[in-house]
């Protein structure tokens, strides 16, 4: 099964490059449309406060060894104690968050807009690729693959004897989908990368994030062992001064 198929360079000129170019252009278009459609979301005080609490808890974790043990324990108690600790989220509240998510019209609209702006171009491009660019071998993947990938990567090619490394343009489309993120961050500036993969992951983790991250912080604070690093400072200062004075 080791025949080497010679692929026409015309494929490269007329399939691979135009497909990538089209995806880049669509990405840029989506970016500008998103900028136009972005509604100004007034900050929610609760969400803001939670964010700040998280930051402060993280600072506490990071710098715990620099403050005296008493102060650290006092602060840890303030954050994690069962009754009114800042990071403690009672069970019912956690449930409510999700229900609220669906009932709050603004948030629902926002999420719909975000999803739409991502799904529609993807679907259209995919359909276009399938319609125009199917039924032939588009490229060869440089490493060997198992037979299981055949159905995924060779959808238009109905020959079962062709090596799985020879793929159709559908796989080129997917490659571009995941790979153009770097290019977009170069062109459009750092924060505006059309990061489809991240958005897809975000879609499944619906913004429950707040209570989950709070409890995660709480757990990590609970397990910290405080070791005051300051006494070592005395010795280090002594050595340093000794060197300085000599």
């Amino acid at each position: 099964m080791a025949e080497d198929l010679v692929l026409d360079t015309a494929i490269r000129d007329w399939v691979l490059i135009p497909l990538s170019a089209v995806m880049v252009l669509i990405g840029i278009l989506r970016y500008f449309v998103a900028k136009l459609m972005r509604s100004f979301q007034s900050p929610d005080p609760k969400v803001l406060k939670e964010g700040q609490v998280l930051l402060r808890a993280r600072n506490l974790k990071a710098g715990a060894n620099f403050i005296p043990a008493k102060s650290f324990r006092a602060r840890r108690f303030y954050f994690t104690n069962e009754e009114n600790g800042l990071l403690h989220v009672p069970k019912e509240q956690a449930q409510n968050a999700q229900a609220q998510m669906f009932s709050d019209p603004n948030m629902a609209m926002d999420m719909m807009k975000k999803n739409l702006s991502m799904i529609i171009p993807q679907t259209l491009t995919f359909a276009w690729v399938n319609f125009f660019f199917s039924g032939f071998v588009a490229a060869k993947i440089p490493f060997p693959l198992t037979q299981r990938f055949r159905s995924m990567l060779q959808n238009g090619i109905d020959l079962s004897t062709v090596d799985v490394s020879y793929v159709s343009s559908r796989s080129w489309y997917f490659l571009n989908l995941f790979g153009l993120r770097g290019l977009f961050s170069l062109i459009l500036g750092e924060e505006n990368a059309q990061d489809d993969t991240q958005k897809m992951m975000q879609m499944s983790g619906f913004g429950f994030d707040a209570s989950k991250s709070l409890s995660a912080e709480k757990d990590s604070l609970d397990i910290i062992q405080h070791e005051w690093v300051l006494p070592k400072m005395e010795q280090r200062a002594e050595e340093m001064l000794r060197k300085l004075v000599k």
């Binding site: 005080p45 930051l55 403050i67």
Partner: protein, 302 residues
């Protein structure tokens, strides 16, 4: 806070612009980015750009940011007429905007019309209850009126929501120190150390507060934090060296009666004293005899 390199660049640009070379716009942008407070220069150069119609049109969309910057600089230099003009131009272009409203309230503040300014801020806060700058202006106003306890109240409320804002913690710590509420000030400095443990200034300030509070435990902690400052600044910080000496003397006085199980490394004190002597020899040799007598009295050097 500007890093050393950026400050050097800022100074260089400043001298360049002052001596008539170009680059006023870059200077202003850099000042804005670093949030440095050079109001006179900003006012002078900003006005020269704004008054020249050709320069102004070259800026395009950025001219409104320049108007804002010049307005604030003018208020700082008490050139209220200039400020009023800038704000009038801005409000014609952006009516009903939060930023312009804030500038107008700041103008009232600069004029000294406290009650009007308070009303204006309250109005703005109703629409935007989470605007950080307005809250900070309220604190500044209370402080300027001399109403320190109100300032403390406002700051505390602000920090309940925005607890990761270390500038606010710093301001609160300084206010507490001025009110001699050392325990609260110590808490604030601890927050600052937590968020930025490599800034020697916070360790130094915390050590000073601990030293002022007194008591054996605090003195020992203070000594450790002075050592930390010495570490972080490579032994160059004179105040930290003094702090180490004074803390050791105070601790020795306190534990004079008890048996010296805790014979702290007296090396540290004498080393700090040595370092101080060297420092003075280099930088202020005239004051060296004063220092030597003082250290001899403290029994840190022989």
């Amino acid at each position: 806070m500007a890093g050393a390199a950026e400050e050097a660049q800022l100074n260089r640009l400043e001298s360049q612009v002052d001596s008539g070379g170009g680059g006023a716009w870059e200077y202003l942008c850099l000042v804005r980015k670093l949030k440095a407070r050079r109001s006179e220069k900003v006012l002078k150069h900003g006005l020269s750009i704004l008054n020249d119609a050709k320069d102004r049109s070259k800026l395009g969309g950025e001219e409104w940011t320049l108007y804002e910057q010049v307005a604030i600089a003018a208020m700082d230099c008490q050139r209220l007429d200039v400020a009023k003009d800038c704000i009038a131009t801005l409000s014609k272009k952006f009516t009903g905007s939060l930023r312009v409203g804030r500038l107008e309230a700041m103008l009232l503040e600069a004029k000294g019309a406290w009650a009007d300014a308070e009303k204006a801020y309250a109005c703005l806060l109703e629409d935007n209850p989470l605007d950080q700058l307005i809250h900070k202006r309220k604190v500044a106003m209370a402080k300027a009126q001399g109403n320190i306890s109100a300032a403390v109240d406002f700051l505390n409320k602000y920090l309940e929501i925005f607890m990761a804002d270390h500038d606010a913690w710093r301001e609160l710590a300084e206010i507490y120190v001025s009110l001699q509420m050392y325990k609260q000030a110590a808490f604030c400095y601890e927050e600052l150390i937590l968020s930025q443990p490599t800034v020697p200034f916070y360790h130094l300030a915390y050590a000073e507060v601990l030293y002022s509070m007194g008591g054996l435990e605090n003195l020992q902690a203070a000594k450790k934090y002075y050592c930390a400052t010495v570490n972080l600044t490579g032994g160059k910080n004179t105040r930290a060296l003094y702090g180490v000496c004074l803390c050791s003397v105070a601790i020795n006085q306190l534990i004079k009666g008890r048996n010296k199980e805790e014979k702290e490394s007296s090396e540290l004190q004498s080393l700090a004293a040595e370092a101080l002597l060297q420092d003075y020899k280099h930088r202020a040799p005239g004051k060296l005899p004063l220092l030597t007598t003082m250290l001899k009295n403290m029994k840190l050097i022989s």
